[in-house]
């Protein structure tokens, strides 16, 4: 793809950091945090659930600014 065309400048953004993919990872992180919060098996998983959810939420807010 030609880099001279200004309309295509967005494509310089690395493919792996596109919004869609990163948002899905953040969503998964929040979901895992919830499972850790709710599971009845290990206290330590519950202990780290908060930090997982926080990381997922912060990540979600940041990556929602990334280009598609």
């Amino acid at each position: 793809m030609s880099m001279t065309q200004p309309a295509k400048r967005k494509s310089r953004w690395p493919r792996w950091a596109r919004r869609g993919l990163m948002e899905n990872i953040a969503t998964a992180l929040i979901a895992i945090g919830f499972l850790m919060l709710f599971q009845p098996f290990a206290l330590s998983l519950y202990t780290y659930s908060f930090i997982t959810m926080l990381a997922g939420t912060v990540m979600f807010i940041i990556v929602s600014k990334f280009p598609e």
Binding site: E23, A26, Q39, L43, T47, S49, F50, I61
Partner: protein
Amino acid sequence: MLNRTAETVARATPEPLARKVRGISDKGLAWLFISPTILLLLAINIFPLFWAIYLSFTNYRANRPNEVVKNLGFANYQRILGDQDIWIAMQTTAHFVFWTILLQTLIGFTLAWLIDRKFRGHAFWTTLILVPMMLSPAVVGNFWRFLYEPQIGLFSYVISFASGIPPTSIQMLSNVSLAPWSIIIVDTWMWTPYVMLICLAGLRSIPEYIYEAAEVDRASNWRQFWSITLPMALPFIMLAVLFRGIENFKMFDMVNLLTGGGPGSTTEVASITLKRQAFESWRTGYSSAFAIILFVAVFGLANIYVKALNKVKQR
């Protein structure tokens, strides 16, 4: 007609002139219109939130305002996240959220699927089904205590009549294993219509031509359901599930009035624990930390919910 005239005139008028007649600039007006809302939310929601974050690092107690406030760092968070009792409260919440969502989604979707058949008078019956979800969960939840009374309560009577169990032994609210189900029943009764309404919108949004194509391909009804109806309605189901999940995760009013967390702490969901810590034990700093933890959880779900909303909006 008005439309067309306006368009032509708008195109004909030079931009600077159009701007001059407006008085206040558009940018100024936009901020004038939006700022009161933002200010109110900053004052009533965001400022208290930051105050709560500050308090969550202290040992402040609201019933002893004159005591010296000590900074505890992350100690409150560490205590809550290592506390066996709060972990159990989370599992109680999980039990409540899981079963209410499962039941409401299954019943709600089935009802929507049946209503979509458009039998005679379906509009009237749909409206009737919707009534419970508009009512106050607190006031109606309170009345359910009467329906649950052993012997004299209508619910217990009907159950004992149908099952033959002696009416005095149906103690929905004071039996340790039945109490969690008593709140699940009321919540399901109340909010199944909500899920049903959104599922109905999902079913109605499926364009007719897809079914026509499936007919041409001689797909069976069963196949059509699994490969067209369900996947196409899924974004809507997700929307309902997420919203009910958020709401039930922070459920307080109905549970507080039905069981108050009892018997013992068998129905003590997170909000009830929080209320007990904050407004009965007055451990304000500690409960602020708990509140922040719950808030982050809800905020994370809310992000996903808004994403789901936008997805549905595009349909």
